[in-house]
């Protein structure tokens, strides 16, 4: 393998962390997957970031988060009245 070939494969940490997003969305090409895995082998920072990223990925759950959003009962009733009036129901 010559040096220029390796250089072409080399990713910066900035590029690697973008590819991590695409990996999590399962849209990474084979070539990029190889590049990324190689980078993660040699870069302890990105490897650590990757671990945290997968953890955050598992935590984010919109359905749970939205259910935790407090809605004030009085305001909710006012809102319902307002719509009912607007639509002449």
């Amino acid at each position: 393998m010559n040096i220029s070939f390796l250089k072409k494969l080399k990713l910066t940490c900035c590029e690697a962390t973008l590819l991590l997003e695409q990996k999590n969305a399962h849209i990474l090409s084979f070539r990029k997957k190889i590049q990324l895995n190689f980078h993660l082998l040699v870069c302890k920072y990105c490897a650590a970031y990757n671990k945290k990223l997968t953890f955050i990925e598992r935590l984010i759950s919109p359905k749970t988060s939205e259910k935790n959003i407090p809605i004030n009962d009085n305001e909710l009733n006012e809102f319902k009245d307002k719509i009912n009036k607007k639509l002449n129901l």
Partner: protein, 184 residues
Amino acid sequence: MNKNEIFRQWIRDYSKPLLQRATYLLSNKEDAEDLVQEVLIAAYNSFENFKEDSKPKTWLMGILKNKVADYYRSKYKTEPNISLDHFFDASGNWKTKDVINDWNISENETALLNNNSFNQTLEKCIDELPQKWGILVKLYYLDEKKAPEVSQELNINTTNLWKILQRSRMQLRTCLETKWFSVN
């Protein structure tokens, strides 16, 4: 039941989940109320399009998603300029090295998932994202991570979508690092 009776029932049953989703997506209570009002009015006016075998809540949530996309497109017309300078130097290396700090995830995961104050910190961190990224990140997760769909809905190119996701996640990681893991 006639149309008006059905609608009264829908308003009674679905106002709350609609308001919760809109508030979650927009991180802005007033805008969320206006938006849900628009959703219900639009639903009333296009009631003929509602197929009786589908679920009303799903139908209304679909209209809500379209309205959120309209809101986003009209508010953020220009393609965003996303800078990662805060995190990486000119050669693309990490600027700060605190990413290496161990979170002990494998040992702590279950405990953290069930820890209310940790979950609150996480939600706060998500909420601190600027709205123009926050809406996108949240829609991305609601749409089960279908990037092409989100970029089409919000009229944003996919390259920028990935950059926003990357930038937002960088910020989330830093936020959790400083607000939770370095203090607990």
